[in-house]
C-alpha cells in the first residue's frame, strides 16, 4: 500500500520526537531568558515569578509538541504528485493512547493547581504586626489613610508610603464605581468595590518608587488614574509620618478632597 511508503513504523515518530525536544529546550530557554516582570519589590513577587517560570517550563514543551506534530505532518504527509485521489489509513482510534492523553494532562494540571494553592497560601498569609492602611478609590484618584500616631484625625495622603520589610494590610474601598488597586512591582492587586471593604496583604522588600495603577475600567479618566507607592526605610518613614502628623488638621489632604468632589460633580453632570 502507498501508506507504507509514506512512513509507517517508528522512524517518523523518532524524527518527530527529536524535533519536538530540541524545539522545546530552545523555547523553554527563551521563555526563561525573557525579562518578563517589572522589579521584585515585595516578598510576594518572587513567589509569583517562580510560579510563572514553572508554568513556562511545563507549558512551552506542550506548545512545541503540538506545533511540532503539525509541522512534521505537513512536511512528511503532504499530498505528493500522483497521490491526489488516495486516502490515508482508516485508523479510528486507539484506546490506550486516548487514556494516556486524558490522564497525563489531568495529573499535570492537578499538580500545578496544588502548587498554585500552596503559593497562594504563602503570599496571602497573615503576618504579625501588620500596618493597616486604608485605600480609598474614587473617580479618578487614590487616597490613603494612616492612623494618626498622635491620635485624632487619620492622616490622609495622595501618595502611598510604606516601610521596607514591614508587612502591610490594605483595607480597600471605593466611593463610586469599581476600581482595582494594582502595584505591578508588588505583583498584587485587589478590586475596590463600593459598599465592600476588600483586603490585600503585601510585604515590600525593596526601597524605591513604584507606580500604582487602576486596573478596572472606571470611566473616562481610568487611563490616568496612576499614582506612586514609595517604599522607605523605617527611619525615613518615621520622619515623614511625624511631618504629616504635625500638619494634620491643617491644609494638606482636605484641600485635595475638595478638588476631587469638584471633579466628581463634573463627571455626574456629563451623565445628563
Amino acid at each position: 500500500m502507498a501508506q507504507e511508503s509514506r512512513g509507517g513504523g517508528r522512524r517518523p515518530l523518532m524524527q518527530m520526537a527529536v524535533i519536538a525536544v530540541v524545539a522545546s529546550v530552545l523555547g523553554v530557554a527563551l521563555g526563561l531568558v525573557i525579562d518578563w516582570f517589572p522589579s521584585q519589590a515585595s516578598t510576594q513577587a518572587s513567589t509569583i515569578d517562580t510560579l510563572y517560570d514553572v508554568i513556562i517550563i511545563v507549558s512551552v514543551p506542550i506548545f512545541f509538541l503540538v506545533t511540532g506534530v503539525i509541522g512534521f505532518c505537513v512536511w512528511r504527509f503532504r499530498v505528493r504528485p500522483g497521490e491526489e485521489d488516495e486516502d490515508g489509513p482508516p485508523i479510528h482510534g486507539n484506546t490506550k493512547l486516548e487514556i494516556v492523553w486524558t490522564t497525563v494532562p489531568a495529573i499535570m494540571l492537578v499538580a500545578l493547581c496544588t502548587y498554585a494553592f500552596v503559593a497562594l497560601r504563602d503570599i496571602e498569609e497573615a503576618q504579625a504586626d501588620e500596618q493597616r492602611i486604608q485605600v480609598i478609590a474614587q473617580q479618578y484618584d487614590w487616597s490613603f489613610e494612616y492612623p494618626n500616631p498622635m491620635g485624632g484625625e487619620p492622616i490622609r495622603t495622595e501618595e502611598l508610603y510604606l516601610v521596607k520589610d514591614e508587612p502591610v494590610l490594605f483595607d480597600i474601598t471605593s466611593l463610586d464605581v469599581i476600581h482595582s488597586f494594582w502595584v505591578p512591582d508588588f505583583r498584587m492587586k485587589r478590586d475596590a468595590v463600593p459598599g465592600l471593604t476588600t483586603q490585600l496583604r503585601v510585604t515590600p522588600d525593596r526601597l524605591g518608587t513604584y507606580p500604582i495603577v487602576c486596573a478596572e475600567l472606571c470611566g473616562l479618566g481610568h487611563a490616568f488614574m496612576r499614582q506612586n507607592a514609595n517604599v522607605l526605610s523605617r527611619r525615613d518613614f518615621d520622619a515623614w509620618m511625624a511631618e504629616q502628623a504635625e500638619g494634620a488638621g491643617g491644609a494638606g489632604a482636605p484641600a485635595s478632597e475638595d478638588e476631587e468632589e469638584g471633579g466628581e460633580a463634573a463627571a455626574q453632570e456629563s451623565d445628563g
Binding site: 501508506q3 509514506r6 512512513g7 509507517g8 518578563w36 516582570f37 517589572p38 509569583i48 510560579l51 510563572y52 507549558s59 506548545f63 503540538v66 506545533t67 503539525i70 505532518c73 505537513v74 504527509f77 503532504r78 499530498v79 486516502d87 490515508g88 489509513p89 482508516p90 485508523i91 479510528h92 482510534g93 486507539n94 492523553w101 494532562p105 489531568a106 494540571l109 500545578l112 493547581c113 498554585a116 494553592f117 503559593a119 469599581i178 482595582s180 494594582w182 505591578p184 505583583r187 498584587m188 468595590v193 463600593p194 459598599g195 476588600t198 486596573a215 478596572e216 475600567l217 472606571c218 470611566g219 473616562l220 479618566g221 481610568h222 487611563a223 490616568f224 496612576r226 456629563s270 445628563g272
Partner: protein, 629 residues
C-alpha cells in the same frame, strides 16, 4: 401605495417604525401624567422606550410575525405555498425568508459587515495607542471604541456567523429539508441587524463606554449611549436563544433515517453542545442587562451600594453567561475544524466518540468556572480555589480534542489548501491561547496579570487565532457549496499567511507588556511600553488590511469564479452529495445513512445513500458517493 403599506416589506416596516415611536411617546405621556411628573414629555425616557418598542414594530412591519398573528386571530389558516422559500434575486436576501440556506447567507454577510466595522474601530484604537499620551480621541471616546469593538465582534460577529454557517450546512448534514421552525429562524435572523444597528448608532449620542462587560455601577451611571448596548444585547440574546432552540429540535427530531447520534458529523455535535450552552446561559445576560436598564431608567438600585444594592451580584450573573459564551464562541469552530481536518487528511477522525463526549464535558464544566473572571474582585476568598481547579481541568477535554486532531493528521494524505491552512493555524494559535488560559487559572499569577494586557493577548489568541481562524476555514470550505463557485486559491493562501504573521506580531507582544504591568482598556500608558505599542499598532494595520484580500476574493469569486462541482473536496458528509448550491428543498430523495461520516480510507465506504426511484442503492456498491440531481 396603500397596498404596499399593507403588504409585509420595507414600506410597511418604515410605517411601523413611525408607529413604534408614536407608541413609545404615548406610553410615557400616559405614565408620567399618571405619576404627576413634569414635564410630561421626557426625551430620555421616550428614547429608551423607543429602543425597546421600535425594533418589535419594525419586525412586525417586515412581516416576521404575520403568519402567527393570522393564526392567532382565528382566521382560517393559509396553507404555506413556500413563496417565502429560496432566493430569486439579491432582493430575496432583504426580505423575510424561511429557507435555511437563504438565512444562512443572510447571517454570514451582515456578520462580516459588523466584523469590518469592529475591525475599523480597533484600528482607530491602535492609532491612538501607537504613542503614549492622547492624540486622536479623549478618554471617554476611547472607552467607547473598545466597548463597541468587543460588543460587535462578540454579539454580532462570532456568535451569529457560527449560527449562520451552521444554519446553512447543518440541515444538509443531517439530511433534513430545512430547520424545524423556519419562521422562527427568519425572526431570529432579523433581530440581529436590529441589535447591530442599535449598537453602531450609539455613536450618534456618544458610544457606550463601560466595556462589553458593562460592570455596574459604572454602567448604570453612564451617559445614555450605554442603553444602546443594554437594550441591543437583548435582541442579540433573544436571537441566539431562538436559534439554539431551533438547532436542538432540528437535530433531535429531523435526522435522516439511519442517522444515529453517533453517525452525526462532529459539526452537528458541536452545534448541539453549543445550543445547550446558549439555551441555559443566555437568559442570564439578558437578566443582567435588564437589571442595568431598571437601575438606570427607573432607579431600582439593584447595584447601588448606598441603597442596599449588591455590586458583585452583577458580575456573578454576567459571567454565568459570559464564561459559557466563550465556549459558545469556540465549540462551533471545533466542529468546523473536525470536518476540515478529516476531509483534508483523508482519514477518519481519531477517537470520534471521545470527540463527541469531550464537547459535552466542556458544556458541563463550562458552567463551573465563571468566577475565574472574578479572582481579584473581592468575592469570598474560598470560591477561588474550586474555580481554579475546574478552570484547569476544563483544559483536559480541550486537550483531548487537540491531540485527536493531531492523531487524525498523522499518516494522512494532507491537502494543505486554504481551509486546511486556517484549520492548522487555528490548532497552533488556539493551543497557545489554551496554554495562556491554564496559566491564567493559576491564582497567584492571575492576581498579578488580571485586567492587564496579558488578558488582551490571551483572549485574542482564543477568539481571533481560535474562533476567527475557524470561521475563515469554514467560509472557504463551504464557499463552493453556498455559492456554487470556487474561490481563488492563491488569494486564499495569501490571506492566510498575511493574517497569520500579522496576527502574531500584533498579539504576542501583548503577553509581555501585560506581565510588565500595562493595564488593559487604557488610552494612555507609561513611557516604557511605547516601543512595543508602536510595533503592535503597525502590525495591527497590516492585519486590518489583510481582510481586504479576503473580501476581494469572496466578492470576485462569487460573481465570476469558476463553477463548483457538487463535491470538490471528495467529502462523505451529506451536504456534499447534493448539487452546489443545493436544490431548494435540499434533497430530491431522502437520504438513508448507512455508516459513519468520516470513513475515509475504508474501501467502498459511504455515509449516506439516496433512494433512486424507489429502488435502494445497495450500500456496498458505490465507490464514489451517489449524487442527487
Amino acid at each position: 401605495m396603500a397596498m404596499k403599506l399593507r403588504a409585509p416589506g420595507w414600506y410597511r416596516a418604515t410605517l411601523y417604525i413611525g408607529l413604534g415611536v408614536a407608541f413609545a411617546l404615548a406610553l410615557i405621556v400616559v405614565a408620567r401624567l399618571g405619576y404627576g411628573l413634569d414635564p410630561v414629555v421626557d426625551v430620555r425616557s421616550w428614547l429608551l422606550v423607543s429602543l425597546l418598542a421600535v425594533p418589535l414594530f419594525f419586525l412586525g412591519g417586515l412581516g416576521a410575525f404575520d403568519t402567527w398573528f393570522h393564526w392567532a386571530s382565528g382566521r382560517p389558516t393559509r396553507p404555506d405555498d413556500h413563496s417565502q422559500h429560496g432566493a430569486t434575486s439579491w432582493r430575496s436576501y432583504f426580505a423575510i425568508n424561511t429557507d435555511h440556506k437563504v438565512i444562512g447567507i443572510q447571517y454570514v454577510a451582515p456578520s462580516f459587515t459588523f466584523m469590518f466595522i469592529g475591525g475599523a474601530v480597533a484600528m482607530l484604537m491602535r492609532a491612538e495607542l501607537a504613542q503614549p499620551g492622547s492624540q486622536l480621541v479623549d478618554g471617554q471616546t476611547f472607552n467607547g471604541l473598545f466597548s463597541v469593538h468587543a460588543a460587535l465582534l462578540i454579539f454580532l460577529f462570532i456568535i451569529p456567523v457560527f449560527a449562520g454557517l451552521a444554519n446553512y450546512v447543518l440541515p444538509l448534514m443531517i439530511g433534513a429539508p430545512d430547520m424545524a421552525f423556519p419562521r422562527l429562524n427568519a425572526l431570529s435572523f432579523w433581530m440581529l441587524p436590529v441589535a447591530g444597528v442599535m449598537m453602531v448608532s450609539s455613536f450618534l449620542v456618544g458610544p457606550f463606554a463601560s466595556g462589553w462587560t458593562a460592570y455596574a455601577p459604572l454602567s448604570t451611571t453612564q451617559p445614555v449611549g450605554q442603553m444602546f448596548f443594554t437594550i441591543g444585547v437583548q435582541f442579540a440574546g433573544a436571537s441566539s436563544i431562538a436559534t439554539a432552540l431551533n438547532f436542538l429540535v432540528t437535530i433531535i427530531t429531523m435526522r435522516a433515517p439511519g442517522m444515529s447520534f453517533f453517525r452525526m458529523p462532529l459539526l452537528v455535535w458541536a452545534n448541539f453542545s453549543t445550543s445547550l450552552l446558549v439555551v441555559i446561559a443566555t437568559p442570564f445576560i439578558a437578566a443582567s442587562q435588564f437589571f442595568v436598564l431598571l437601575d438606570y431608567a427607573l432607579g431600582f438600585n439593584f447595584f447601588q451600594a448606598g441603597a442596599n444594592g449588591d455590586v458583585l451580584m452583577y458580575q456573578h450573573v454576567f459571567w454565568f453567561y459570559s464564561h459559557p459564551a466563550v465556549y459558545i464562541m469556540m465549540l462551533p469552530g471545533f466542529g468546523i475544524v473536525s470536518e476540515i481536518i478529516a476531509v483534508k487528511s483523508r482519514k477518519p477522525i481519531f477517537g470520534y466518540r471521545m470527540m463527541a463526549f469531550s464537547l459535552l464535558a466542556i458544556v458541563v464544566l463550562g458552567f463551573t468556572v465563571w468566577a475565574h473572571h472574578m479572582f481579584t474582585s473581592g468575592m469570598q476568598d474560598w470560591i477561588r480555589i474550586p474555580m481554579m481547579v475546574t478552570t484547569a481541568i476544563i483544559a483536559v477535554p480541550t486537550g483531548i480534542k487537540i491531540f485527536s486532531w493531531l492523531a487524525t493528521l498523522w499518516r494522512g494524505v494532507l491537502h494543505v489548501d486554504t481551509p486546511m491552512l486556517f484549520a492548522l493555524g487555528f490548532l497552533t494559535m488556539f493551543t497557545l491561547g489554551g496554554i495562556s488560559g491554564v496559566a491564567l487559572a493559576m491564582l497567584p499569577f492571575v492576581i498579578h496579570v488580571s485586567d492587564s494586557y496579558f488578558i488582551v493577548a490571551h483572549l485574542h489568541y482564543v477568539l481571533f487565532g481560535g474562533s476567527l481562524f475557524t470561521v475563515y476555514a469554514g467560509v472557504y470550505y463551504w464557499f463552493p457549496k453556498m455559492t456554487g463557485r470556487m474561490y481563488d486559491e492563491t488569494l486564499g493562501r495569501l490571506h492566510f499567511w498575511v493574517t497569520f504573521v500579522a496576527f502574531n506580531i500584533t498579539f504576542a507582544p501583548m503577553h509581555l507588556i501585560g506581565v510588565q504591568g500595562m493595564p488593559r482598556r487604557v488610552s494612555d500608558y507609561a513611557e516604557q511600553f511605547a516601543n512595543w505599542n508602536l510595533i503592535i499598532s503597525l502590525a495591527s494595520f497590516v492585519l486590518g488590511l489583510s481582510t481586504l484580500v479576503f473580501v476581494y476574493n469572496m466578492v470576485s469569486s462569487w460573481v465570476g469564479g469558476p463553477r463548483a462541482p457538487a463535491n470538490p473536496w471528495r467529502a462523505l458528509t451529506l451536504e456534499w452529495q447534493v448539487s452546489s448550491p443545493p436544490p431548494i428543498f435540499n434533497f430530491d430523495a431522502v437520504p438513508t445513512v448507512v455508516g459513519g461520516p468520516y470513513e475515509y480510507g475504508v474501501p467502498g465506504a459511504v455515509h449516506g445513500v439516496f433512494k433512486d426511484g424507489g429502488a435502494e442503492v445497495p450500500p456496498s456498491k458505490p465507490t464514489t458517493p451517489s449524487v442527487a440531481q
